[in-house]
Amino acid sequence: MEVKDIIKPENLVYKKPSLLTDNVTHYCPGCSHGVVHKLVAEVIEEMGIQEKTIAVSPVGCAVLAYNYISVDWQEAAHGRAPAVATAIKRLMPEKYVFTYQGDGDLASIGAAEIIHACNRGENIVVIFINNAIYGMTGGQMAPTTLVGMKTATSPYGRDVKLNGHPLKITELIAQLPGTEFVTRQAVHTPAAVRKCKRAILKAFQNVGKNTGTQFVEVVSTCNSGWKLSPVKSNEWMVENMFPFYPLGDLKG
């Protein structure tokens, strides 16, 4: 039997979602972004809502997310994606609108926009990638950088006296009455990936009912920024990130 004889629909066990474009991503090998992009694309495809989906990309590593998922996109200024998404959704209430933001974008420069969008209960999905570092600009300290963690702008480790504590923005957002579903996920194992997909699916299904903001944090790796191999990054994340950012549903 030759390979071409095996390639037929009945033997198909896995395929690239049709919404993922053929563009080669700029993400580093081992980065969580690629996996989360795939999950988002799968959910939109499975729900059949490509024509109804408007996505908003951030400033950060995912700034070019619009190159990879075949839906209409707006690229927002740094941190402003929730404001951009607010207007899109309010002006086109029948659409599915989501933002895709990193920790610097969402929890630092865009803290006001995310808090107020969630507080107004904007009917949008927020995908929040938290890898505790600024990846795109070269590994600087983020609001979610752990205490003691070394980055380009905290070369001796994050010092609470100098830099304050890491911000648990998701816990804060879960307190807001405007949010319906707030969850923290990861994509470091096949089981975690499946669980994360179920969370993203739930968020998109919920948002179709216009009952509040749906917020999915994905605790992620940045092996380039962390200066660890992809495998070591996953181990480091389990050991250090999960105790401070525990996985699971916070609300809904």
Binding site: E51, I54, V71, D72, W73, Q74, A87
Partner: protein, 362 residues
């Protein structure tokens, strides 16, 4: 039957927005223009036309909401006053860079910093030279009456969509706060989905349908050669705008030996000043730029060949006077007269200024 009302400039902005079929207003309170959002909230247009009105958490959020709405091909706007407009500059440069149509109203107050809540014209540079980072221009309309506050809302949206460029109405605290008779615009319905698709479907994020590739609204281009190409495209657009959209009014310029150049509330004061000048026997005319970008450079060049001098009257330390000087190019004297910090010049002060700075200079 025309709809005449006695209204404040700021209230008229709100009324005109609803009447021209605006889809969304996003704002944040700041004196002296809070009546714009107050009027909209009172009128509840969402119940009538479906127009969205939202008080944002900041001017920064408001302008980014405008970005989001404009990216969907919708007629969206914001309004603010000087310190708030400074905050909006980030969003404005992204809107210019993404070539999105929208309307921004600046009811100017004195600065710098928190400054004063009284009227000024000290944001001219910010409005006409760019304002935010990068090489870009807004189309800038300068209303001199409550009537023009009404008219320029519709005109502003028309120009914004014609050129896919942000348009600013550069007003001031006088025009925003004063009441005058105004003939309100005819009511136009908001665009339907089909109309938006026809007009803006090639670029707007209305949802990717099978008949087209997906649309992306962005101002990012990492390839320098392509970014330069885009910059040239913008320059070409601005040149077309300069060619087609210059607007100005001339009063008593035919026989004038001296010209006052003034826009907005200063032009109203200067109109009285030229009457007083003529009573004194001075042949003074008024050139009122209606578009500040594109600037009426050519007419000033022409006037410079036959008059003895220009006085730029502005409630600023001398901003527009630089554009008058560029147009005149040294042919005749060009001077500036202005009051600052929220102080408003009287017609007599303007007469004295033109006598001292232009007419009686040997």
């Amino acid at each position: 039957m025309a709809d005449y009302k006695l209204m404040k400039g700021n209230e008229v902005i709100a009324e005109a927005a609803i009447r021209c079929g605006c889809d969304g207003y996003f704002g944040y309170p700041i004196t002296p223009q809070s009546e714009v959002m107050e009027t909209l909230m009172l009128k509840k247009p969402w119940e009538d036309t479906g127009m969205v009105v939202l008080q944002a958490e900041s001017e920064v959020a408001a302008i980014n909401m405008v970005y989001g709405g404009a990216g969907c091909g919708k007629k969206v706007m914001t309004s603010s006053s000087s310190p708030g407009i400074s905050l909006k500059q980030e969003g404005i440069t992204y809107i210019a860079g993404a070539e999105l149509p929208c309307l921004i109203v600046n009811v100017v107050r004195g600065g710098p910093g928190l400054g004063t809540i009284q009227p000024a014209q000290s944001d001219y540079f910010q409005a006409v030279k760019g304002g935010g980072h990068g090489d870009y221009h807004l189309i800038v309309l300068a209303p001199a009456s409550v009537q023009e506050m009404n008219d320029f809302v519709g005109l502003g949206f028309d120009l914004a969509f014609k050129y896919l460029n942000p348009v600013m109405i550069l007003s001031d605290g006088v025009i925003g706060q004063m009441m005058e008779k105004v003939k309100l615009s005819e009511v136009k319905p908001r665009w339907t989905e089909a109309e938006i698709k026809k007009m803006s479907g090639s670029w707007a994020t209305t949802g990717k349908t099978a008949d087209r590739d997906y649309n992306v609204i962005t101002s990012l281009e990492l390839d320098s050669a392509k970014q330069e190409q885009f910059n040239h495209k913008l320059i070409a657009k601005y040149n077309t705008i300069k060619e087609n959209e210059v607007r100005y009014e001339m009063i008593d310029c035919e026989d004038a030996e001296y010209i006052i150049v003034a826009y907005g509330s200063s032009s109203r004061i200067s109109q009285k000043a030229i009457t007083l000048c003529r009573e004194k026997g001075y042949k003074v005319g008024l050139l009122r730029p209606i578009t500040l970008y594109p600037y009426p450079t050519k007419i000033i060049q022409e006037l410079a060949t036959r008059v003895k001098g220009f006085l730029s009257v502005e409630m600023s330390a001398g901003q527009m006077v630089e554009d008058v000087r560029l147009a005149v190019n040294g042919k005749v004297p060009v001077e500036h007269y202005g009051r600052l910090g929220g102080m408003i010049p009287t017609p007599n002060e303007v007469v004295k200024a033109i006598e001292e700075k232009i007419i009686n200079v040997k």
